[in-house]
Subunit: 201 residues, 2 copies
Amino acid sequence: MKVLEERIRREGQILSDTVLKVDSFLNHQVDTGLALEIGKEFGRIFGGRPITKVLTIEASGIQFAMAASIALGVPFLYAKKKKVVTLSEQVYSAPVHSFTRQESYQISISQKYLGPGDKVLIVDDFLATGAALVGLVDIVREAGAELLGVGAVIEKSFQEGRGLLEDMGVEVHSLARISAMAPGEVHFIDNEESIKESASC
Amino acid sequence: MKVLEERIRREGQILSDTVLKVDSFLNHQVDTGLALEIGKEFGRIFGGRPITKVLTIEASGIQFAMAASIALGVPFLYAKKKKVVTLSEQVYSAPVHSFTRQESYQISISQKYLGPGDKVLIVDDFLATGAALVGLVDIVREAGAELLGVGAVIEKSFQEGRGLLEDMGVEVHSLARISAMAPGEVHFIDNEESIKESASC
């Protein structure tokens, strides 16, 4: 998604070869117009599938899940992060280890809102190590729902997340795929190109 | 907002005379259509003011800040909750004590995204004790920005939040104002009525 790549080039702060801050327009201050365009792009990519629910994790996935859910015309659901799972109701839960923050937490979803009838699109802001997204995929499977794809706004393609998800049989689409970065420079994988290449294999 | 009050009557789970769960349509699973209507209502109420930014707190304020920001055509910004404030950058922060969860945390906003030029609308899902919203008001004032109002989706009018905010000179509008509740019943303050009454004083 060219407009997103250009915005990352212009406003993203690359703090190291793995840390990219996009908090001026994506995940602290949010350019709502861009978020809605991101939702439309997910709608273009996944709109042909019979999705019944968009799933994400609080907090920074919410704006993109909402944008996708506007485009697809379905509700969205966000997993909560908790140190301890509440026992007051039945939940699906999965452990997640954040490598960035060096901490572990539990993500959970009420069993009332996800079940065998649901056809799910998972959306998140970043795909890097894939820890949180793998947790969401586990929850979708535990719920007996059908997973129709994962959409990430930004993918750090040099990290293992995409590989982990593809090994689980999950189809992944990211709107900006970073192949490498360092302070002052960022390189994107050309999505069109990679589609052409994989088509010719 | 009648459609919201009806939805609370139909789907809200009143667990005690202070605890209302609305996680089937507002703050876990989200009915995006209703969230957009809520945004439009905030737009109707506050649209005549020169708002430059909508401000909320992660996580469950995000969908309503986004909806308001779509209606008003401005970006939104969400405060982060942290146990310890990061020292890697300059932030405005305020302590918040959650009476529901019996825990204290720090909310913070990067100084880059809020300043004297900003005219702010604060939006959140609930106004009850007002703890989080008072923290946000403190941050807006610390930043030297101008606060043009607070919009809450649901207000528990029998708790002290509105009074605290009004004592700070803040104008508060809530879309559903609960005067009293108990398992199986919920009573709303008629917003039109209360506007009429205050106009005739």
